[in-house]
């Protein structure tokens, strides 16, 4: 039976309740939410609102500030372009995924905004100082990941949020690898949280979230039908509809609501503890092999992700061999070129990412296969 250890890309398998919720939407919720007054449409609209309430409760936000997106990249593009639309300076971290780095770089290369890159260190205080030193009078936003998708390193985001609050800078957080395994609340200082629905929140692929605290207006980058102010040609500015033009992914949203309820039912601390034990077990079983390098530093904290390299074998080759043996891990650059420049991993890494469904016996099985492919 093949085993998925690529849960940082998307969690699989999905919880039974998530599958049931998606099926329920397709079987029973035929109406287009917010697009009509008939019973079918109203039922769909009520379910969507209920999903907003559950998700808002989970992240300590207001339901009307929960925006459903296609994925985390979509949410981040809406946030970055929507906040930087009239120019200014932004700071991103050296560990950013391309979902942050590319929209920021595109704005900079079109001279619509300027950007600086703050180096992330293993020591939290140095990282915070790195951000602080780059703040200018025209800095409008700090955009950074809560945890690196390459190494899993947790950034000192509460301190960065405090820095933003102190200077009235918008803090846009990429929660793709942190949400569902660590406690993330808007009340801890995040102005705009963007995250995937299909990773640690266990929803279907094709779901994402943008959650605002309402302090910084986001100019929509997509215009269209919202089911509101329909006789006007101007895009409405009220959240959430302002950022939700077009028909919503009802099955995906229902699955995401169920996924959040699943995480709440088990508890973030238990999920983190389980996955963290598997990461430790993984490293312990391979410890002492001088050809294996784990990209971890003792001073830093991590979400349950372990990136590693094996001397003498390319990451992609190693992952292909492991795939043939029934173990699925992602290799390469993980869509995060900036991070590899900083880490010095010019050939990329192999990434071990368990989920709540992963088993210790499967970790042991994987480690045995890894030992066999070491040259």
């Amino acid at each position: 039976m093949p085993v998925n250890f690529d849960n940082a890309a998307t969690t699989f398998p999905k919880p039974e309740m998530v599958i049931r919720a998606a099926s329920y939407a397709m079987e029973k919720l035929g109406g287009n939410a917010g697009r009509g007054g008939h019973a079918l449409a109203m039922k769909s609209a009520a379910e969507i609102y209920s999903a907003r309430e559950v998700i808002a409760g989970f992240f300590d936000a207001q339901p009307e500030n929960v925006v459903f997106a296609l994925n985390c990249t979509h949410a981040l593009n809406m946030a970055i372009q929507g906040i930087m639309n009239d120019g200014g300076h932004m700071i991103i971290s050296s560990l950013e995924h391309n979902s942050v780095a590319r929209p920021a770089a595109a704005l900079a290369s079109a001279r619509k905004a300027s950007m600086s890159i703050a180096r992330v260190y293993p020591e939290d205080q140095r990282t915070v100082e790195s951000f602080r030193s780059l703040i200018r009078s025209d800095t409008k936003a700090i955009v950074c990941t809560l945890a690196s998708n390459v190494t899993g390193q947790l950034l000192p985001w509460r301190d960065i949020a405090a820095l933003c609050r102190e200077r009235n800078i918008c803090f846009i957080a990429d929660g793709a690898q942190a949400c569902g395994v660590t406690d993330v609340k808007l009340s801890d200082g995040i102005n705009i949280l963007c995250t995937a629905g299909h990773k640690g929140l266990y929803g279907l692929a094709g779901t994402g979230l943008l959650i605002s605290d309402g302090k910084f207006p986001i100019v929509p980058i997509i215009q269209g039908g919202t089911g509101t102010a329909s006789s006007s040609l101007a895009q409405p500015m009220l959240l959430p509809e302002a950022l939700e033009s077009g028909t919503l992914n009802l099955s995906g949203i229902m699955s995401l609501k169920a996924g959040v309820e699943f995480v709440k039912r088990i508890g973030i601390e238990k999920i983190y503890a389980h996955e963290n034990i598997l990461c430790r077990s993984f490293m312990n079983e391979l410890k002492g092999n001088e050809k294996i390098t784990f990209l971890r530093q003792p001073q830093a904290s991590y979400v349950p992700i372990v990136s590693f390299t094996i001397d003498g074998i390319q990451p992609e080759t190693a992952a292909a061999k492991l795939s043939s043996a029934g173990y699925y891990l992602r290799a390469g650059f993980h869509c995060a070129a900036l991070a590899h420049n900083y880490l010095g991993t010019e050939n990329g890494t192999i990434r071990f990412a368990p989920s709540v469904f992963s088993k210790k016996s499967d970790v042991s099985g994987l480690c045995e296969k890894i030992k066999l492919i070491i040259p």
């Binding site: 939410a33 917010g34 007054g37 609102y49 339901p63 102010a229 006789s231 009220l238 959430p240 509809e241």
Partner: protein, 80 residues
Amino acid sequence: MTVCNVEMPSYTYAVKAEKLLRARGYPCEIKRIDRPGSSTCGFMLSIRGHCREAIGILKNYSVPFTQIIGEEFDNAGKLR
């Protein structure tokens, strides 16, 4: 009994307003508007009784609305 109809800017805010008022004991329901104005979503909140207090609660909680249709109010939500 006085009934006031509050035109809402979005279905999201209509539900938010309905839940807010019902939790405080004000009977209300979401209805479609026959001839919606240009800045509404086609939904209104129909509140039965104590309209003045109910509108006050919406304002206190910063729940936006576009227009109030009722004997006691002008369309800015102020008492006539």
